[in-house]
Every structure is written in structure tokens, then in C-alpha cells.
């Protein structure tokens, strides 16, 4: 992807992706602004000039960390949401995945996209705007999946999938805060399971044993 050809100067002495992961850990736990360059550098085990040479500035480092975070932790979950043909199973699977991911760290962190830049000063608004765009992408994924469910006849005609997507998205965001407040994986899974009752039943029960 990136041209490997060794250019002239001294090559860097650290693994770019490895230190990015270290930075991700700090950003995830602290959030964008409270994560100081000093703390990041200590975790990355490199000095400020190396950070700026490799990543540009703090905001760009953060956005790369977020991107890495999404790829590593969420891509599979979003894909499974698409691949599972039964919309209810798909959603239940996604929320079960979410319960796992959100409590996967040693320290309670929640979702980096949801909480990574919740409190920012005036001059870092654009960082939160970027995350907000990602949050809206998430909602859009829910909506697209639900609309497919409608097309597949899994919902009755008049179902308000827009509001349902918004509600599931709201639930998902709330789970981030629960995770950050230290709610256990087990409880978060129970919450996720209850959240599935938000999804209305199928229009016509397709083959039951009785009734």
C-alpha cells in the first residue's frame, strides 16, 4: 500500500503500526485531549519529534488510531451484521459482539468513536466532528440493514425503520457509557439481549409448531 522503497535518509527505528497501537491504548483509555503527548510518547517509547515525523500532529495521530481501532475491533462485527440473512439474528449478533468488544480491555473504556472526544475545547471541535461522522455511519449501517429486512419481508409494511435504527443506535451508544462505568460483560450481554425486544416481531409467524 505504502511504497516500501527505502528512501535516502536514516530509516525509522520503530514499528509504525506497533507504536500506533500503543497510542491507541492511551487514547482509548483517556480520550483525545486528556491523552498528552508526553503520556503518548511514554507508551509509544519514542520521543515527540518521532511522533510528529511519523504521524503529523496529535489530531492526525488520533484519527489514525481511531481508524486502526475500527479496523481491528469493529470491522468483523459490521460485516457479520451484513452477512447474516435473518435481520433479527443479525442485530442480536451485532449487539452481542458489541458487548464483547466494549468490555474487551483491561480498563473500562467503552467505544472510542462514541466517547473518544466527548469533551473537547474550542480548537479541537473538528476531531469530535470526525467522530460524529463515524457515529452517523454506524446509524446508517443499522438503517440499511433494517431496510433490507423490510425488503426481505421480515417486517410489516408500515414499520418505522428510521426511528428503530435511531433507537438501536441510541442503545449502542448507551452501552459504551455502561462499559466505561465498569458494567460487566455478562450484564452488558443481558442488556443487549433485552435491547433486541425493541425490534418488532415478524409480520406473519413463518411456520410454528403450534398456535
Amino acid at each position: 500500500m505504502i511504497p516500501q522503497h527505502q528512501s535516502k535518509g536514516k530509516p525509522r527505528t520503530f514499528d509504525r503500526e506497533a507504536v500506533l497501537k500503543k497510542a491507541l491504548g492511551v487514547f482509548w483509555k483517556r480520550g483525545y485531549e486528556p491523552a498528552s503527548i508526553a503520556e503518548l510518547c511514554e507508551a509509544m517509547e519514542i520521543n515527540p519529534p518521532s511522533v510528529y515525523a511519523a504521524f503529523g500532529n496529535k489530531a492526525q495521530l488520533f484519527m489514525e488510531a481511531v481508524n486502526h481501532y475500527e479496523n481491528v475491533y469493529w470491522n468483523d462485527a459490521w460485516e457479520r451484521l451484513e452477512d447474516e440473512p435473518d435481520v433479527r439474528k443479525a442485530m442480536a449478533g451485532f449487539f452481542r459482539d458489541a458487548a464483547v468488544i466494549l468490555t474487551s480491555q483491561d480498563a473500562p473504556c467503552g467505544c472510542m468513536v462514541v466517547l473518544g472526544a466527548a469533551n473537547v475545547s474550542k480548537d479541537s471541535q473538528d476531531v469530535n466532528d470526525a467522530l460524529k461522522a463515524l457515529r452517523e455511519e454506524g446509524k446508517e449501517c443499522f438503517l440499511v440493514r433494517l431496510k433490507r429486512g423490510v425488503a426481505d419481508g421480515e417486517f410489516s409494511e408500515g414499520t418505522d425503520v428510521d426511528t428503530l435504527a435511531s433507537t438501536l443506535n441510541t442503545m449502542f451508544h448507551g452501552m459504551s457509557i455502561q462499559a466505561r462505568d465498569g458494567v460487566s460483560h455478562e450484564e452488558l450481554e443481558r442488556v443487549a439481549a433485552v435491547a433486541m425486544t425493541l425490534i418488532p416481531p415478524a409480520p406473519v409467524p413463518p411456520k410454528r409448531h403450534s398456535a
Copy 2:
């Protein structure tokens, strides 16, 4: 409540509660750490020494602002949750109230208890801990109300009200983030209405016209 007796020195030249409200506005919009003393002072129209004389330090000012926020914006909603005898109507009412409160400001802010100290550095952890305690109080209120519903026979015996309280609390927290992301009051009310489907139906339909 506070001893009115004018002590000896020069009396303060500002209204303590008025400037606290101004500070609340800044804290609500920005969060704890991004709200600088400079910005707070500008909004409060007083100078740093006056702030520290009247409120102690930034953390104490914040906690007073949070306390004021709860009293002004949420006390009534929590009281209505208790006063309404029908548990389902009570919850629906609370979430409708929440949708109003969360979108009541000019700028999208969300709930100050939920998002006011989401990102804090190492030495301000105690501020977030204090808010976390308030968040847990909220969940406890949900739980107590639901348990009363069980005692009142509004839920069937085996209903897992703990998980239900947790789920409603999660929904409530998620609504904060939606509000902060600029979701309209109308949409938030629709979300709140859908959220009510989380609550299982009454065990036996108590007097219907048919069926």
C-alpha cells in the same frame, strides 16, 4: 440555608447563584476540563480570585454547577417518575421529559451528568467518579420504580427488573449522546417512545373492552 448575616468585610458585588448558572452553561456545553477558568470567568463576568473565594476551586465549582443542574432540570422529572402510579406511564413520562430536557439548550449538550466529565486526565478522575455515582443513582431510581411495579402486580413474577433497569438506564445514557449530536427533540421523543417497548406487557390485561 446560608447564614445571611452580613459579616464584616466588603460584601461580594455579584449574585452567587446567577454566576453559578453562567458557569453551568459553560460546563454543560464544554465539559469539565475543556471549560477553562478563563472562559468561565468571562461568562461569569468576574475575575479568578472572586471565583476561588466564592466556590473554592474548579472542581467544587463544577460539582455545585452539577448539583444546580440536577435541581433545576431533573428533580421534577424524577419526582413525576415516583408520583405516577402506573409504572409504564411513569417510565414513558420520564423518557418524554428526558427528551425535552436533553434538547432544551440552544446548543446541543446532552446530559451533564452523563457527558460532563467523559474525558478527564489522571488528576481529575474523582470528578468523573462523582458523576458516575450520580449515574448509578439514576439507575437505582429506575430499579426502585420497577420493583414497586412488581409489588403492585404490574409485572409478572419472574420479571428481571435488574436487567430492565440497566437497559433503560443504558437507553437514557444513549439519548444524551444523541442529543449532543444534534438529534432533534421530535426524533428523540420517537426514540423514547420506541424505548418503552423494552418494558414487558402486564401479566394479565386488567379489564379490556374486548379480548
